[in-house]
Amino acid sequence: MKLITAVVKPFKLDDIKDALKAAGIAGMTVTEVRGFGRQGGHTETYRGAEYQIDFVPKVSIALVVDDSQVDAVVDTIIAAAATGKIGDGKVWVTDVDRLVRIRTGEEGAEAV
């Protein structure tokens, strides 16, 4: 089992979701986050005073998948999320020891 985490541009979420669905992925968990990176750093003025907006809105997607699926899923996400412009985001993969479906108690691949 692996956990794939993708931090992407919010307006790409729909495309990514559709692509993953098409690739047979049945579940994922999404969080609104704020990203700091190369893209960041525009300056605004508000009633005369300046301020730096370092953080830009992003969406983080968490997906637990079977080891065999990891590369395909990562590729799918990258294909759907890329615009080629700075700030497209990152994908990373970590190892999962155990996965349980709460409703049934099923474990591992069954639980995805």
Binding site: E44, T45, Y46, R47, G48, A49, E50, Y51
Partner: protein, 456 residues
């Protein structure tokens, strides 16, 4: 030529407001009040209701331009201004302002005791009407400072300030002017016969603005307002829709504030309204141009300030000037407010909503503008063509200036002492930790926006 309007002075005995003018349409004697009398009173009452509505407007503007973690505190302070302010006005504010008493301060009508509230004098207003209309003005005057002191003032300290302001500091200013006290009598230079401040650019708004200035200075800037380099950093407001709805509500309320100050239902009610409308749009327009040019974007929060700046400025001259002059006065206020906001930011006086710039600076500008643009014989002016541009030699301008100085000194001195005493006793400012965490939960035990998640 215009009718000479009522010279509003307290009669000195029992607080009855005598109106000496000849009112149109009350030409034949009759037993009770005439329909015109009823119309006068009903209209001024309706205007008062519009002014009262401004409380919601102030709360929304202030809340919108500050952070979510202090939003309950903002609304609590505005609610307190209405509750404590009107109670104080009832107890002694009205008495000090209009309860007879000569030059310095009124001395009767505490708690409205023994007042005949209902009777309408011919061509005038009943005590009920005057009390109502003046009470909502008092609540306005005190609310102004709330914005400048936002996000860091102890709630109990603010309550004391609000009470003293409505019970004493503001009523004295009113007594000196609309109450017939020493400014009404004495402040005049050369050809000028009297000061003029139709609806209170100086008496209400500048009074509030000076209190706001003293409060902001006594408090010091919010944590995080100035960077390590000493440069001001913006702390954007959490809800711009609130702020702009608030501006619209205030604008609506101002159509009671200024036209209602005619204190009669006559034709000038509506010329005043037209001037008010034109000054507001000019304030917004020229503010937008200025901020667009200075910062590259049409900052909506600032434009809201610009509209209010135009409204504050026209509050004094709205009865005395032509439509084009109203537009010019409002437009100048719209430019002025931008520079004032930058200025106070720079000298490290942190005013989260711009109250000092809007009410203080543009209030003073409004009072002065009479000395430049006054053409018609307005309340207190007692003459036509009092403006420099209509042939006056500057006497009126000087008189207006003197009035500003007197009010500013009084308010600065009294609020200065007040804030000093509060600071040395119960303390004026919350702890740094409380400021960072937000005042809502710690002072009021209540979050403004309880997420559904945290508790069921």
């Amino acid at each position: 030529m215009r009718y000479k309007r009522a010279f509003r002075i307290s009669s000195g005995l029992g607080g009855v407001i005598a109106v000496l003018a000849i009112t149109p349409s009350s030409v034949f004697a009759q037993d009770g009040p005439s329909t015109q009398d009823y119309l006068n009173n009903i209209w001024v009452f309706i205007a008062g209701v519009l002014v009262f509505f401004m409380q919601a407007g102030f709360a929304l503007v202030e809340a919108g331009l500050t952070r979510a973690k202090n939003v309950v505190n903002i609304f609590a302070k505005n609610m307190a201004d209405a509750i404590v302010g009107i109670t104080a006005w009832f107890a002694c504010g009205y008495a000090f302002a209009f309860g007879g008493g000569g030059r310095w301060i009124g001395d009767s009508a505490f708690f409205l005791a023994d007042q005949d509230l209902a009777t309408i004098p011919e061509g005038g207003l009943s005590i009920a009407t005057t009390f109502f209309f003046q009470a909502v003005f008092a609540a306005t005057a005190v609310t102004i400072a709330s914005g400048a002191m936002a996000e860091r003032t102890k709630f109990s300290a603010y309550l004391i300030f609000s009470m003293v302001m409505c019970a004493f500091i503001y009523p004295v200013v009113v007594h000196w002017t609309w109450g017939g006290g020493f400014i009404a009598e004495k402040v005049n230079f050369g050809d000028a016969l009297s000061y003029s401040d139709f609806a209170g650019s100086g008496i209400v708004h500048m009074t509030g603005g000076i209190a706001a200035l003293m409060g902001a200075m006594a408090l010091g800037p919010r944590i995080g307002k100035y960077g390590a380099d000493g440069k001001p950093r913006a702390i954007p407001g959490h809800n711009i829709p609130f702020a702009i709805v608030g501006v619209f509500i205030l604008w609506v309320g101002w159509f009671g504030f200024n036209p209602g100050s005619e204190l009669l239902a006559d034709e000038f009610v509506i010329t005043v309204a037209v001037n008010t409308m034109l000054a507001a749009v000019a304030g917004g327009l020229f503010c937008a141009i200025t901020i667009w040019w200075k910062s590259g974007k049409p900052d909506l929060a600032m434009i809201g300030n610009g509209v209010l700046a135009g409204l504050v400025a026209i509050t004094a001259p709205c009865g005395a000037v032509d439509a084009w002059a109203a537009f010019v006065i409002g437009g100048i206020a719209g430019v002025l407010v931008v520079f004032a906001v930058f200025f106070f930011d720079k000298i490290k006086i942190d005013d989260p909503v711009g109250a000092i710039s809007v009410h203080g600076v543009c209030g003073a500008w409004g009072v002065l503008s009479i000395g430049l643009f006054a053409k018609y014989d307005d309340a207190f002016l007692l003459r036509e063509d009092a403006g420099l541009f209509y042939g006056d030699n500057g006497s009126q301008l000087l008189t207006q200036f003197a009035m500003i100085v007197v009010i500013a000194v009084w308010v600065a001195a009294t609020t200065g002492v007040l804030f000093y005493v509060i600071k040395k006793t119960i303390g004026l400012r919350v702890s740094a930790e409380e400021e960072v965490e937000g005042l809502d939960v710690i002072e009021h035990g209540l979050a403004g926006y309880a997420g559904d998640m945290a508790h069921v």
